[in-house]
């Protein structure tokens, strides 16, 4: 069972590497959208929240799950939408756009 932990650790480490490689390529211009965008991704915990809320164990658990879903969803939707809004403001010189 500790092994299982190590297997997950492998995934974690690899993902970390990808994160570093990819993010270091993002130019300063886009750091604010990057912040809010990656922030939205961290709302991925919604996947866990849904299970908890739908598993119907104890009432307490379900309530906890419900709150978790709400919070995570705010994070996801809010994050992606606000990032989208921001990014739509970035425009190249007209002649470039054509």
């Amino acid at each position: 069972m500790i092994e299982g932990l190590v297997d997950l650790l492998v995934v974690f480490v690899l993902a970390m590497f990808i994160g570093f490689e990819v993010i270091t390529k993002v130019p300063p211009t886009l750091h604010t959208p990057l912040m809010s965008g990656s922030n939205a991704i961290s709302g991925v915990t919604i996947l866990g929240a849904m299970v908890v809320a739908g598993r119907g164990d104890t009432r307490v658990a379900t309530i906890v799950g419900l709150v978790a879903v709400i919070f995570a969803m705010i994070n996801v939707v809010g994050g992606f939408m606000v990032t989208d809004r921001m990014l739509h403001m970035f425009k190249a010189k007209p002649e470039e756009q054509k």
Binding site: A15, I18, V22, L34, S38, L47, V51, V82
Partner: protein
């Protein structure tokens, strides 16, 4: 079935990665963000088919409520309020992760099972990190909104206390990992986490919040990862790790650009006594030289008949909300054949890329914005460097004066331009709270007043020329 679910999660993770990759250029960024969103949607839909799920009413309610709140906030938030916004969202993300982990704990309790040690450990970690993120983010939000004082709150033995608390927490976790499961233990942990979050952010000055937010951003990612360990979900682990990495990198970048160590930011109690927006004079070495003032029409003249003007915006531009006026003025000048460039310092404003977003909002094409390193050599050939609401990022002390807290931070060499006009409301210092010799330099002339008003005047003056 399980396998398919896992495949979908993998696909989602891939979407996130490609999404982040596409964020590396403004042209592809929009689609990148959308790709990530699609990945998330797919993952959510797939999860709906998870065998464990029995009833949907709570899920649906939760999603609807959360989604609508998120949408409303996202639509209504002002661009200048981005830092708070991100802080808040961070908090929710962290809280959600903590809650999911706690639910797992409750499940074990009710089933009366003893979870394997690796699960107990990860549960506790995700609860801790999650709660720290939550309370920390709220405090940060409060400071940026100036609900909580922006001052770096300090009290005797602060560090010692925090250190002890921190050590205590570690001990607690280890101890619990053996004694576990104790009833209510999770509440204790959550409580400790919340406390830790508050105590560690309170002593940090309001202007340092962006760094804190980036850090909390990475925490929220790590919390998600931990939860992934708990419920054995690759999707969570990968995505969490991505966010964790991105937060750390942003933190590093900001610290580097401010030429301060992370430790200094977190424990330095920078700007203690100095309020955010720096409305108090901190007695640096008081300079007794006279300053030169300039009237709007002279300034307009100077720029309109120059060959090249470089605009250096700072936090003040955001405060004054004068981004549209800047663009209007720039276009007027360009019509008169003046080359206008924008010089953006990496930490101008209050969050990374703050100025870029601000100017983008005013439809300034991103290819007119130049990074510090690209523009600095240009200043020699610049007739007028127009500093709008920037202060620390143009403070020559960073170059010359080893005593200055800014010393060593790379700055915009506006003092190398033939002439330099500084627009601000007063002689008050910037966020670092130090005097700025630039204002007394021979090339410099001050144009006092709120940036928006002054720019309006400049615009009308230029039109009249």
């Amino acid at each position: 079935m399980e396998a398919i679910l896992k495949l979908v999660y993998l696909a989602a993770a891939v979407c996130f990665i490609f999404g982040l990759k596409r964020l590396s250029h403004p042209r592809t960024a929009v689609s990148g963000n959308q790709l990530a969103a699609v990945g998330m949607l797919a993952a959510i839909i797939a999860t709906a088919f998870d065998r464990q799920i029995l009833g949907y009413q709570w899920i649906i309610i939760g999603i609807i409520v959360g989604a609508s709140i998120g949408a409303i906030v996202a639509r209504t938030v002002k661009m200048t309020a981005m830092p708070e916004m991100v802080a808040l969202l961070n908090g929710f993300g962290g809280a959600a992760s903590a809650l999911v982990a706690s639910a797992e704990y409750i499940r074990y309790m009710t089933l009366g099972e003893t979870p394997p040690v690796n699960v107990t450990v990860t549960i506790q970690l995700s609860v801790l990190i999650g709660t720290v993120t939550f309370s920390g983010s709220l405090v940060a939000f409060g400071k940026l909104r100036e609900i909580v004082t922006g001052t770096a709150v300090t009290y005797p033995l602060q560090k010692t206390l925090n250190a002890i608390l921190f050590a205590g927490t570690i001990g607690l976790v280890i101890w619990l990992s053996m004694e576990f499961p104790l009833p209510y233990v999770i509440l204790i942990l959550a409580g400790v986490g919340l406390l830790l979050g508050v105590l560690s952010v309170i002593p940090i000055g309001g202007a340092d919040m962006p760094v804190v937010i980036a850090l909390l951003n990475s925490y929220s990612g790590l919390a998600a990862s931990m939860t992934g360990f708990v419920i054995n979900n690759h999707g969570l682990i990968i995505s969490g790790a991505l966010v964790g990495a991105s937060g750390l990198i942003l933190t590093a970048i900001m610290c580097k650009a401010m030429n301060r160590s992370l430790a200094n930011v977190l424990f330095g109690a920078f700007g203690a006594g100095a309020e955010t927006g720096s409305s108090v004079i901190v007695a640096g070495q008081k300079i007794e030289q006279p300053i030169k003032q300039i009237t709007a029409d002279d300034a307009a003249m100077l720029m309109a008949y120059g060959k090249q003007v470089v605009i250096v915006p700072g936090y003040g531009l955001a405060v004054a909300q004068a981004q549209h006026e800047v663009r209007e003025m720039a276009e007027l000048l360009e019509k008169r054949g003046v080359t206008v460039k924008y010089g953006i310092h990496p930490v101008a404003g209050r969050m990374p890329g703050h100025m870029n977003v601000l100017l983008a909002e005013a439809n300034v094409p991103y290819d007119e914005l130049y990074d510090m390193d690209d523009i600095n050599p240009d200043f020699e050939q610049t007739d007028v460097a127009l500093v709008i609401g920037a202060n620390d990022v143009v403070n020559p002390a960073a170059r010359s004066n080893p005593e200055s807290p800014l010393y060593g931070m790379p700055i915009m060499d506006v003092d190398k331009a033939r002439s330099c006009i500084v627009m601000k409301r007063s002689m008050r210092p910037g966020f670092a709270g130090v005097e700025n010799e630039l204002f007394y330099a021979t090339v410099t002339s001050m144009l006092f007043g709120d940036a928006k008003d002054s720019l309006k005047q400049l615009i009308s003056e230029i039109k009249e020329l």
